[in-house]
């Protein structure tokens, strides 16, 4: 992973963000797809999720998850890929189109209109979960007993 270029690191981060996005929200932020053709039309399949024995040992197969993948080519020939959790084909098509659009020079509008809000909302969701968890953290206190009290 250390050998990735800056572009690859950014692409990796946004593909993850798009995969984790809620399909309805992505549709709201990105209602109109650019002209495209399918290199690989959206396809629903499964990915075998692996775990590690004892969290850190050798791998084992835990079970599958549903995943939809898609590859698009825009009019100018730029290709975008998507692998997204679930079975929503429009989610995969939108994610692939955004992956392609972000490779163009004029990517800042997409970043501002779609990726930034997704990132912000995900941050809010994660913080809300962490804050609820924090409220259930046990604060032990010790009752002092005996002569030394």
């Amino acid at each position: 992973m250390s050998t990735l270029t800056k572009d690859q690191i950014e692409r990796r981060a946004r593909m993850g963000l798009l995969a984790r996005a809620r399909p309805e929200r992505l549709a709201m932020l990105f209602p109109t797809l650019p002209a495209h053709e399918f290199v690989r039309p959206p396809e629903i399949g499964a990915v075998m999720v692996r775990g590690r024995i004892g969290a850190a040992g050798g791998p084992f197969n835990l079970g599958e998850m549903s995943v939809t993948r898609c590859t698009v080519r825009l009019g100018d020939g730029v290709v975008g890929h998507a692998y997204v959790q679930g079975r929503d084909k429009t989610h995969a098509v939108r994610a692939a189109a955004i992956d392609a659009l972000m490779q163009r020079a004029d990517s800042s509008a997409i970043e501002a209109a779609i990726l930034a809000p997704l990132r912000e909302e995900e941050g809010v969701r994660r913080r809300a979960r962490a804050d609820k968890a924090a409220a259930t953290k046990v604060e032990f206190f010790t009752m002092v007993r005996g002569e030394d009290a």
């Binding site: 992973m1 990735l4 690859q8 692409r11 990796r12 593909m15 993850g16 995969a19 984790r20 396809e43 629903i44 399949g45 499964a46 990915v47 075998m48 999720v49 692996r50 775990g51 590690r52 024995i53 004892g54 969290a55 850190a56 040992g57 050798g58 791998p59 084992f60 197969n61 835990l62 079970g63 599958e64 998850m65 549903s66 995943v67 993948r69 590859t71 890929h81 692998y83 997204v84 959790q85 679930g86 079975r87 994660r126 913080r127 809300a128 979960r129 962490a130 804050d131 609820k132 968890a133 924090a134 409220a135 259930t136 953290k137 046990v138 032990f140």
Partner: protein, 362 residues
């Protein structure tokens, strides 16, 4: 022996129509939506995903609705569906150290980095029916407190650092997959864990309980139980690097068990491991106890003949879909098999000179 018989089509169709009507129930009562099941019957959804071995909350909720709440039937529907999906690839092993934690407790240490986080648990409830739930009420709201962002490292890693834990070897061997090759004995630990992860919760609970009651005792402590969301990463062949393809909820249990040592090695605690899709701590704890019991040979322990030590017994009976398939098939027509049994018993009775009531039976 099976012989095709005809004549049941009309009856079967009518039976299925009635099933549909019964599924819907009283039409005066509003129909349940799949989204309602997904959001409000989440632990049932989690169980169907874990035992169906497919993480997809919408499909699990649909299966529960279609199965009228019969969870094994719902698991059956999910298992049937998953066979229709092409397998894209396998993920990288999930990194549960980076889990976004909703619950994390240890029964072995009170003060642990990251703290004890109870999360949305039934523990400490009084198990009294809450009649307020029978009335429409306002949605309850959870309390919040600003999280300090401190990491929650695996607790057993702390013991590991002191050399008190059995070490783990982080290999990257491709694990065996029982959905691709038949489950054969002897089963390696990765194969056993795959079978246990999709095994029936009730069966694993009973097996684990039997070890606690003395049938293959392993002296287990829950070193750590954690529940939360975990990123799933996969190598994307088109790109040549891995990206996150989603996030799944997992329950992980690590047990600390009694020692193993030898003339050359000092005693060390041993491990049992459980990892289950969704929030399912009863199953994760059960899995880790059964995993540990099955390791008797590798750890040089005595085989006491306990059921939980018998990998063949455990693994060949843990799958509720195989079990229910074979069990329930005996209710289907076996007219010809039974005819031969009837003939045999009549012959035996004739030979024994007690065929006088044969006429009456016919």
């Amino acid at each position: 022996m099976y012989v095709a018989t005809k004549g049941g089509e009309r009856a079967i169709e009518a039976a299925h129509q009635w099933l549909g009507e019964m599924r819907r129930g009283d039409t005066e009562v509003p129909e349940l939506s799949v989204a309602q099941i997904r959001e409000q019957m989440t632990l049932a959804v989690n169980r169907v995903m874990a035992e169906g071995s497919l993480y997809d909350p919408d499909l699990a909720a649909l299966a529960i609705k279609q199965a009228r709440g019969d969870l094994i039937e719902a698991v059956f529907l999910i298992r049937a569906y998953r066979t229709t999906l092409p397998r894209f690839a396998a993920s990288l092993p999930v990194d549960t150290d980076r889990m976004e934690i909703t619950r994390r407790i240890s029964a072995t240490f009170k003060d642990v980095p990251g703290g004890q986080i109870l999360g949305p648990t039934f523990d400490y409830t009084h198990r009294l029916l809450d009649f307020a739930l029978m009335a429409d009420g306002n949605a309850p709201r959870a309390e919040s407190r600003e999280a300090d962002g401190s990491p929650s490292p695996h607790i057993l890693a702390l013991l590991d650092r002191d050399g008190l834990m059995e070490p783990l070897a982080a290999t990257d061997e491709t694990p065996p997959d029982l959905t691709r090759e038949p489950l054969e004995m002897p089963a390696s630990r990765p194969l056993r864990l795959q079978a246990l992860a999709r095994g029936d919760e009730g069966f694993l609970l009973s097996m684990a309980y039997s070890t606690q009651r003395g049938y293959g005792r392993t002296h287990a402590f829950v070193g750590e139980l954690r529940i939360g969301a975990c990123a799933v990463e996969m190598d994307i062949p088109e790109l040549g690097f891995a990206v996150e393809i989603g996030e799944i909820e997992l329950t992980e249990c690590e047990t600390v068990n009694q020692f193993n040592g030898s003339k050359t090695e000092p005693p060390q605690f041993t491990r049992g491991y459980g990892l289950v899709m969704g929030q399912s701590e009863r199953k994760a704890i059960s899995m880790s106890l059964v995993d540990r019991a099955l390791r008797w040979e590798e750890l040089g322990e005595e085989n006491t003949g306990a059921p939980a030590q018998d990998a063949e017994f455990v693994l060949y009976h843990s799958d509720n879909i195989q079990a229910t398939g074979f069990l329930e098939h005996i209710k289907l027509p076996h007219y010809v098999d039974f005819q031969s049994e009837l003939e045999l018993i009549r012959k035996l009775r004739r030979e024994a000179g007690s065929d006088d009531r044969q006429e009456a039976a016919e």
